[in-house]
Symmetry: C2
Subunit: 168 residues, 2 copies
Protein backbone atom coordinates (compact mmCIF):
# COMPACT_ATOMS: atom_id res chain seq x y z
CA UNK A 1 0.00 0.00 0.00
CA UNK A 2 1.28 3.47 -0.88
CA UNK A 3 1.38 6.38 1.50
CA UNK A 4 -1.87 7.86 0.21
CA UNK A 5 -3.73 4.66 0.93
CA UNK A 6 -2.25 4.46 4.43
CA UNK A 7 -3.27 8.08 4.94
CA UNK A 8 -6.81 7.25 3.85
CA UNK A 9 -7.04 4.19 6.08
CA UNK A 10 -5.78 5.95 9.18
CA UNK A 11 -7.14 9.44 8.63
CA UNK A 12 -3.63 10.76 9.07
CA UNK A 13 -2.17 13.18 6.56
CA UNK A 14 0.53 11.74 4.28
CA UNK A 15 2.90 14.54 5.22
CA UNK A 16 2.43 13.69 8.86
CA UNK A 17 3.25 10.05 8.14
CA UNK A 18 6.49 11.11 6.48
CA UNK A 19 7.12 13.37 9.46
CA UNK A 20 6.70 10.45 11.89
CA UNK A 21 9.14 8.45 9.83
CA UNK A 22 11.69 11.28 9.89
CA UNK A 23 11.23 11.51 13.65
CA UNK A 24 11.90 7.81 14.02
CA UNK A 25 8.46 6.91 15.35
CA UNK A 26 7.45 4.91 12.35
CA UNK A 27 9.90 2.39 10.93
CA UNK A 28 11.11 3.16 7.42
CA UNK A 29 9.01 1.20 4.92
CA UNK A 30 10.23 -0.70 1.90
CA UNK A 31 10.55 1.25 -1.30
CA UNK A 32 9.45 0.44 -4.81
CA UNK A 33 12.00 0.67 -7.62
CA UNK A 34 10.92 4.24 -8.20
CA UNK A 35 11.35 5.15 -4.53
CA UNK A 36 7.70 5.06 -3.48
CA UNK A 37 7.05 3.98 0.11
CA UNK A 38 5.29 0.61 0.37
CA UNK A 39 3.50 -0.13 3.64
CA UNK A 40 2.19 -3.37 5.08
CA UNK A 41 -0.25 -4.32 7.83
CA UNK A 42 2.43 -4.13 10.49
CA UNK A 43 3.13 -0.50 9.76
CA UNK A 44 -0.57 0.23 9.63
CA UNK A 45 -0.65 -1.10 13.21
CA UNK A 46 2.36 0.98 14.19
CA UNK A 47 0.76 4.14 12.87
CA UNK A 48 -2.56 3.41 14.52
CA UNK A 49 -0.73 2.91 17.80
CA UNK A 50 0.95 6.29 17.42
CA UNK A 51 -2.30 8.01 16.50
CA UNK A 52 -4.12 6.43 19.39
CA UNK A 53 -1.47 7.57 21.85
CA UNK A 54 -1.56 11.05 20.32
CA UNK A 55 -5.32 11.10 20.82
CA UNK A 56 -4.57 10.45 24.50
CA UNK A 57 -2.50 13.62 24.50
CA UNK A 58 0.92 11.99 24.67
CA UNK A 59 3.92 13.73 23.21
CA UNK A 60 5.90 12.12 20.43
CA UNK A 61 8.76 11.63 22.90
CA UNK A 62 6.43 9.70 25.22
CA UNK A 63 5.22 7.59 22.34
CA UNK A 64 8.78 6.87 21.32
CA UNK A 65 9.45 5.62 24.85
CA UNK A 66 6.32 3.56 24.91
CA UNK A 67 7.19 1.97 21.60
CA UNK A 68 10.63 1.08 22.96
CA UNK A 69 9.01 -0.60 25.99
CA UNK A 70 6.71 -2.42 23.65
CA UNK A 71 9.64 -3.71 21.64
CA UNK A 72 11.70 -4.80 24.63
CA UNK A 73 9.59 -7.50 26.22
CA UNK A 74 12.01 -8.16 29.07
CA UNK A 75 11.45 -4.63 30.27
CA UNK A 76 9.10 -4.40 33.20
CA UNK A 77 6.17 -2.09 33.04
CA UNK A 78 6.98 0.24 35.90
CA UNK A 79 8.04 2.93 33.48
CA UNK A 80 4.86 2.53 31.50
CA UNK A 81 2.78 3.07 34.62
CA UNK A 82 4.90 6.08 35.49
CA UNK A 83 4.42 7.54 32.04
CA UNK A 84 0.66 7.14 32.20
CA UNK A 85 0.58 8.57 35.71
CA UNK A 86 2.55 11.60 34.58
CA UNK A 87 0.17 12.02 31.68
CA UNK A 88 -2.77 11.87 34.05
CA UNK A 89 -1.11 14.41 36.32
CA UNK A 90 -0.43 16.73 33.40
CA UNK A 91 -3.99 16.54 32.14
CA UNK A 92 -5.34 17.01 35.64
CA UNK A 93 -3.28 20.16 36.22
CA UNK A 94 -4.35 21.49 32.84
CA UNK A 95 -7.99 20.99 33.71
CA UNK A 96 -7.55 22.73 37.05
CA UNK A 97 -5.92 25.79 35.59
CA UNK A 98 -8.36 25.97 32.71
CA UNK A 99 -11.22 25.89 35.17
CA UNK A 100 -9.71 28.83 37.01
CA UNK A 101 -9.23 30.57 33.70
CA UNK A 102 -12.86 29.97 32.81
CA UNK A 103 -13.98 31.51 36.09
CA UNK A 104 -11.92 34.61 35.48
CA UNK A 105 -13.17 34.95 31.94
CA UNK A 106 -16.80 34.55 33.02
CA UNK A 107 -16.31 37.19 35.70
CA UNK A 108 -14.81 39.44 33.07
CA UNK A 109 -17.66 38.80 30.66
CA UNK A 110 -20.07 39.77 33.39
CA UNK A 111 -18.75 43.33 33.33
CA UNK A 112 -20.40 44.13 30.04
CA UNK A 113 -23.66 42.93 28.57
CA UNK A 114 -24.85 45.67 26.27
CA UNK A 115 -23.21 47.10 23.25
CA UNK A 116 -21.83 50.55 23.84
CA UNK A 117 -18.73 52.59 23.25
CA UNK A 118 -15.43 50.91 23.92
CA UNK A 119 -14.58 53.86 26.14
CA UNK A 120 -17.23 52.68 28.60
CA UNK A 121 -16.69 48.97 28.16
CA UNK A 122 -16.51 47.29 31.52
CA UNK A 123 -14.42 44.48 30.16
CA UNK A 124 -11.75 46.74 28.80
CA UNK A 125 -11.74 48.81 31.97
CA UNK A 126 -11.44 45.73 34.10
CA UNK A 127 -8.56 44.42 32.04
CA UNK A 128 -6.69 47.68 32.27
CA UNK A 129 -7.29 48.00 35.99
CA UNK A 130 -6.37 44.41 36.65
CA UNK A 131 -3.13 44.95 34.79
CA UNK A 132 -2.41 48.11 36.80
CA UNK A 133 -3.32 46.93 40.26
CA UNK A 134 -2.66 43.30 39.67
CA UNK A 135 -3.88 42.09 43.05
CA UNK A 136 -5.50 39.43 40.94
CA UNK A 137 -6.02 35.74 41.48
CA UNK A 138 -3.08 35.19 39.26
CA UNK A 139 -3.17 31.54 38.62
CA UNK A 140 -0.30 30.13 36.65
CA UNK A 141 -2.05 28.16 33.93
CA UNK A 142 -0.13 24.93 33.53
CA UNK A 143 2.92 26.31 35.06
CA UNK A 144 5.74 25.61 37.46
CA UNK A 145 6.23 21.97 36.58
CA UNK A 146 7.69 23.46 33.50
CA UNK A 147 11.29 22.56 34.17
CA UNK A 148 13.28 20.81 31.53
CA UNK A 149 12.08 21.78 28.11
CA UNK A 150 8.56 20.54 28.07
CA UNK A 151 7.08 23.76 26.67
CA UNK A 152 3.79 22.15 27.41
CA UNK A 153 1.59 24.17 25.06
CA UNK A 154 0.78 26.40 27.87
CA UNK A 155 0.52 29.50 26.02
CA UNK A 156 -0.59 31.22 29.06
CA UNK A 157 1.68 33.01 31.49
CA UNK A 158 4.11 30.12 31.58
CA UNK A 159 6.96 30.71 33.93
CA UNK A 160 6.46 34.37 34.48
CA UNK A 161 4.67 33.73 37.73
CA UNK A 162 3.60 37.36 37.88
CA UNK A 163 2.67 37.69 41.53
CA UNK A 164 5.56 35.68 42.80
CA UNK A 165 8.37 36.91 40.62
CA UNK A 166 7.04 40.35 39.82
CA UNK A 167 7.34 43.40 42.00
CA UNK A 168 9.41 42.28 44.95
Amino acid sequence: MLIGELARQTGCDAETIRYYEREGLLSAPQRSSSGYRRYNAEQLGELNFILHCRSLGMSLADIRNLAAFKADHRHDCEDINLLIDQQIGKVHRQIESLRLLEQQLLALRDKCHDTHSAADCGILQTLVEAAEGEPCVCHTPFGQDNHGHSHDHDHAAKKNGRTQKGRP
Copy 2:
Protein backbone atom coordinates in the same frame (compact mmCIF):
# COMPACT_ATOMS: atom_id res chain seq x y z
CA MET B 1 14.06 52.58 33.18
CA LEU B 2 16.07 50.07 31.18
CA ILE B 3 14.72 46.79 29.90
CA GLY B 4 16.18 44.80 32.79
CA GLU B 5 14.35 46.94 35.30
CA LEU B 6 11.08 46.58 33.37
CA ALA B 7 11.66 42.85 33.28
CA ARG B 8 12.16 42.81 37.04
CA GLN B 9 9.06 44.91 37.70
CA THR B 10 6.80 42.82 35.51
CA GLY B 11 8.32 39.38 35.95
CA CYS B 12 8.58 39.15 32.17
CA ASP B 13 11.82 38.09 30.54
CA ALA B 14 13.73 40.88 28.75
CA GLU B 15 13.92 38.80 25.60
CA THR B 16 10.15 38.41 25.68
CA ILE B 17 9.75 42.18 26.02
CA ARG B 18 11.90 42.69 22.91
CA TYR B 19 9.83 40.01 21.20
CA TYR B 20 6.58 41.82 22.01
CA GLU B 21 8.07 44.99 20.58
CA ARG B 22 9.10 43.19 17.38
CA GLU B 23 5.59 41.79 17.13
CA GLY B 24 4.11 45.26 17.45
CA LEU B 25 2.32 44.62 20.73
CA LEU B 26 4.46 46.95 22.72
CA SER B 27 5.17 50.41 21.34
CA ALA B 28 8.83 51.07 20.56
CA PRO B 29 10.42 52.89 23.50
CA GLN B 30 12.77 55.83 23.34
CA ARG B 31 16.43 55.05 23.04
CA SER B 32 19.43 56.41 24.89
CA SER B 33 22.35 57.78 22.85
CA SER B 34 23.94 54.34 23.03
CA GLY B 35 20.77 52.63 21.78
CA TYR B 36 19.48 51.31 25.09
CA ARG B 37 15.70 51.10 25.40
CA ARG B 38 14.27 53.54 27.94
CA TYR B 39 10.81 52.75 29.29
CA ASN B 40 8.32 54.89 31.16
CA ALA B 41 5.26 54.24 33.29
CA GLU B 42 2.98 54.13 30.26
CA GLN B 43 4.86 51.27 28.73
CA LEU B 44 4.94 49.49 32.05
CA GLY B 45 1.14 49.67 31.91
CA GLU B 46 1.08 48.43 28.34
CA LEU B 47 3.23 45.44 29.19
CA ASN B 48 1.19 44.62 32.27
CA PHE B 49 -1.95 44.73 30.13
CA ILE B 50 -0.39 42.27 27.69
CA LEU B 51 0.79 39.96 30.45
CA HIS B 52 -2.58 40.02 32.12
CA CYS B 53 -4.34 39.11 28.89
CA ARG B 54 -1.80 36.36 28.29
CA SER B 55 -2.52 35.00 31.75
CA LEU B 56 -6.15 34.78 30.60
CA GLY B 57 -4.97 32.56 27.78
CA MET B 58 -5.43 35.04 24.96
CA SER B 59 -3.29 34.81 21.87
CA LEU B 60 -1.03 37.67 20.88
CA ALA B 61 -3.32 38.29 17.90
CA ASP B 62 -6.30 38.66 20.25
CA ILE B 63 -4.31 41.02 22.45
CA ARG B 64 -3.32 43.07 19.44
CA ASN B 65 -7.00 43.42 18.55
CA LEU B 66 -7.94 44.29 22.08
CA ALA B 67 -5.26 46.96 22.22
CA ALA B 68 -6.58 48.44 18.97
CA PHE B 69 -10.09 48.61 20.46
CA LYS B 70 -8.62 50.22 23.54
CA ALA B 71 -6.91 52.86 21.42
CA ASP B 72 -9.96 53.64 19.28
CA HIS B 73 -12.47 54.96 21.75
CA ARG B 74 -15.20 55.52 19.18
CA HIS B 75 -15.26 51.83 18.54
CA ASP B 76 -18.13 50.06 20.23
CA CYS B 77 -17.44 47.11 22.43
CA GLU B 78 -19.36 44.45 20.58
CA ASP B 79 -16.14 43.01 19.22
CA ILE B 80 -14.63 42.95 22.67
CA ASN B 81 -17.55 40.96 23.99
CA LEU B 82 -17.27 38.62 21.04
CA LEU B 83 -13.59 38.11 21.65
CA ILE B 84 -14.13 37.28 25.30
CA ASP B 85 -17.02 34.98 24.42
CA GLN B 86 -14.86 33.15 21.92
CA GLN B 87 -12.15 32.83 24.53
CA ILE B 88 -14.66 31.41 26.99
CA GLY B 89 -15.91 28.97 24.36
CA LYS B 90 -12.40 27.88 23.55
CA VAL B 91 -11.50 27.30 27.18
CA HIS B 92 -14.77 25.50 27.78
CA ARG B 93 -14.20 23.11 24.89
CA GLN B 94 -10.68 22.48 26.06
CA ILE B 95 -11.90 21.57 29.52
CA GLU B 96 -14.50 19.21 28.11
CA SER B 97 -12.06 17.33 25.95
CA LEU B 98 -9.44 17.19 28.67
CA ARG B 99 -12.00 15.70 31.02
CA LEU B 100 -12.73 13.00 28.48
CA LEU B 101 -9.02 12.47 28.07
CA GLU B 102 -8.61 12.13 31.81
CA GLN B 103 -11.33 9.47 31.93
CA GLN B 104 -9.64 7.48 29.22
CA LEU B 105 -6.27 7.73 30.88
CA LEU B 106 -7.67 6.67 34.24
CA ALA B 107 -9.37 3.69 32.62
CA LEU B 108 -6.07 2.84 30.99
CA ARG B 109 -4.19 3.18 34.25
CA ASP B 110 -6.66 0.81 35.82
CA LYS B 111 -5.42 -2.00 33.58
CA CYS B 112 -2.17 -2.36 35.45
CA HIS B 113 -1.36 -1.90 39.11
CA ASP B 114 1.59 -4.15 39.80
CA THR B 115 5.00 -4.12 38.35
CA HIS B 116 5.59 -6.97 35.98
CA SER B 117 6.98 -7.67 32.57
CA ALA B 118 6.05 -5.29 29.80
CA ALA B 119 4.93 -8.29 27.81
CA ASP B 120 2.06 -8.74 30.25
CA CYS B 121 1.36 -5.10 30.87
CA GLY B 122 -2.34 -4.41 30.64
CA ILE B 123 -1.77 -0.83 29.67
CA LEU B 124 0.42 -1.66 26.74
CA GLN B 125 -1.95 -4.40 25.62
CA THR B 126 -4.90 -2.09 25.86
CA LEU B 127 -3.13 0.57 23.85
CA VAL B 128 -2.21 -1.87 21.11
CA GLU B 129 -5.69 -3.37 20.98
CA ALA B 130 -7.36 0.00 21.01
CA ALA B 131 -5.19 1.05 18.09
CA GLU B 132 -6.05 -2.12 16.20
CA GLY B 133 -9.76 -2.31 16.80
CA GLU B 134 -10.32 1.35 17.31
CA PRO B 135 -13.97 1.11 18.34
CA CYS B 136 -12.88 3.58 20.95
CA VAL B 137 -14.55 6.66 22.36
CA CYS B 138 -12.38 8.65 20.04
CA HIS B 139 -12.95 12.11 21.26
CA THR B 140 -11.28 14.82 19.27
CA PRO B 141 -9.42 16.77 21.93
CA PHE B 142 -9.81 20.42 21.05
CA GLY B 143 -10.53 19.76 17.51
CA GLN B 144 -12.71 20.81 14.65
CA ASP B 145 -12.91 24.48 15.46
CA ASN B 146 -9.36 24.42 14.34
CA HIS B 147 -9.81 26.26 11.10
CA GLY B 148 -7.55 29.15 10.34
CA HIS B 149 -4.27 28.69 12.12
CA SER B 150 -5.15 28.75 15.75
CA HIS B 151 -2.90 25.86 16.84
CA ASP B 152 -4.74 26.10 20.11
CA HIS B 153 -2.80 24.13 22.71
CA ASP B 154 -4.13 21.04 21.14
CA HIS B 155 -1.40 18.60 21.22
CA ALA B 156 -3.77 15.89 20.84
CA ALA B 157 -5.11 14.45 17.63
CA LYS B 158 -5.86 17.85 16.19
CA LYS B 159 -7.74 17.65 12.98
CA ASN B 160 -7.18 14.01 12.20
CA GLY B 161 -10.59 13.12 13.45
CA ARG B 162 -9.78 9.41 13.41
CA THR B 163 -13.20 7.85 13.55
CA GLN B 164 -14.79 10.32 11.23
CA LYS B 165 -12.15 10.73 8.60
CA GLY B 166 -10.47 7.37 8.89
CA ARG B 167 -11.71 4.12 7.38
CA PRO B 168 -14.67 5.15 5.25
